[in-house]
């Protein structure tokens, strides 16, 4: 069976690419600290030596639209082109092409349907910055095949938070039951408190630092039940109007498991939003002998 080599949850900040590559007067004052944190975070994936990446993200009205909106979708294709004109325009993101892992995608679809997740699928999916941002931060050589899993955190009506957690648990079980000798990392990106297009956007910090503090604690300690007790579709409006992206973090808590303490936790307080990075090693920290 396949091995779950690492579970990684992250914010996806589309400005990272531009900030990290800017030089001279264009380089923002926080860029060096940000790059240093990202490089440490990247090392947590590198040392897990993954062969395949399951990438959980959310389309931002690029290919998926309101005339035909899936709640959860798995991409099954040999290749995934990536990034769109408006992401080049606003964020300077490069066009990319990633390979797909169709055998694992087919397994997630079949097994997921049999577990009562009515997953949509796409055989021609252009992925956006919710998946390419973590490729750029965590695996910039973009050399590993992926299985994209899209969730709807964007276009209400949305699935309930508990459904995200349940899908995360199922993804873990399905990865671990995949008949393969591959090492799989599951990487998902979402948001902490975030406001887009509303009065609280682009402030000195994220719109709700107290929510961010609690959210980091829930994730870092694996407090799935505590998080579910506090978070609802209604409550997520309060920290910021785009905070439903936090449900992708909840999905990743489901992958990591109840009570699973993250092996790597880091944050960076930026204008507009807080960055947060988490890595779990379900089978022990690579390089540290479990039998020692």
């Amino acid at each position: 069976m396949a091995e779950l080599a690492a579970v990684i949850a992250s914010t996806h900040h589309p400005f990272y690419h531009r900030a990290s590559t800017a030089t001279g007067a264009d380089r923002p004052p926080f860029a060096d600290e940000w790059v240093a944190k990202i490089e440490r975070f990247r090392e947590t994936l590198t040392r897990a030596e993954p062969d395949v990446l399951v990438m959980v993200g959310s389309d931002h009205f690029h290919q998926l639209w309101l005339d035909n909106m899936p709640q959860f979708l798995v991409g099954k294709a040999p290749f995934f082109d990536a990034n769109f004109y408006n992401e080049e325009r606003e964020f300077g993101l490069p066009r990319m092409t990633l390979r797909g892992e169709e055998d694992l995608a087919a397994h997630l679809l079949r097994d997921g349907l049999d577990r009562d997740f009515d997953l949509a699928f796409s055989n021609e999916l252009r992925i956006d910055h919710s998946i390419t941002c973590p490729i750029i931060t965590l695996r910039p050589q973009a050399d590993l095949p992926i299985v994209p899993v899209y969730t709807n955190i964007f276009a209400p009506p949305l699935p309930q938070p508990r459904r995200f957690v349940a899908l995360g648990k199922a993804i873990r079980e399905m990865v671990e039951s995949w008949e393969s000798d591959k090492r799989v990392a599951v990487i998902g990106t979402g948001h902490l408190s975030l406001e887009l297009g509303g009065p609280r956007q682009f402030g000195e910090h994220g719109p709700d630092p107290e929510f961010d503090r609690r959210a980091v604690e829930w994730i870092a300690s694996g407090d799935v039940e505590g998080c579910l007790a506090e978070v609802s579709l209604d409550s997520l409006h309060a920290p910021g109007n785009a905070t439903h992206g936090f449900m992708d973090f909840m999905l990743m808590m489901g992958v990591a498991g109840e009570g699973a303490k993250a092996d790597h936790v880091d944050t960076l307080d930026l204008f507009h939003t807080m960055e947060a990075y988490f890595t779990w090693y379900p089978n022990g920290v690579p390089g540290e002998a479990a039998s020692a």
């Binding site: 887009l196 297009g197 509303g198 009065p199 682009f202």
Partner: protein, 119 residues
């Protein structure tokens, strides 16, 4: 009121570089053309397989014609779509992040709960 149609306008303009410029330079003409030609186009169907029933209210037309992002927000247009398109049109006229901050400041009088954006 049709939040869906407002969103469809913002979405289809935002993804097309020529339409972004056209809407910036000629908002009234673009809104009129779009409602006549594009509003009933089903995006994943051939041009002949059109819908028959989609139209703006006069208030919606006016908000779009006036580039009035505050009213669009109050109508429940998807804030991500509005923000992305308006940054594309107007960020170029301002210093770094100046436009984004002013955009939020223009809505400082609004408080929770925000308008429903479901479609």
């Amino acid at each position: 009121m049709s939040r869906y149609l407002l969103d469809k306008f913002l979405y289809t303009v935002d993804r097309d570089p020529e339409l972004v410029e056209r809407y910036r330079e000629d908002p009234a003409g673009t809104v009129a053309w779009w409602e006549a030609e594009m509003a009933n186009r089903i995006l994943n169907c051939t041009a002949d397989e059109r819908s028959t029933w989609l139209a703006f209210t006069e208030d919606e037309r006016r908000a779009l014609r006036q580039h009035d992002h505050v009213t669009l927000f109050q109508m429940g247009a998807h804030p991500f779509l509005t923000l992305t398109l308006f940054i594309a049109m107007f960020e170029r006229d301002h210093g770094p992040l100046e436009y984004q901050k002013a955009y939020g400041q223009a809505m400082a009088h609004l408080s929770l709960p925000y308008p429903d954006i479901s479609t």
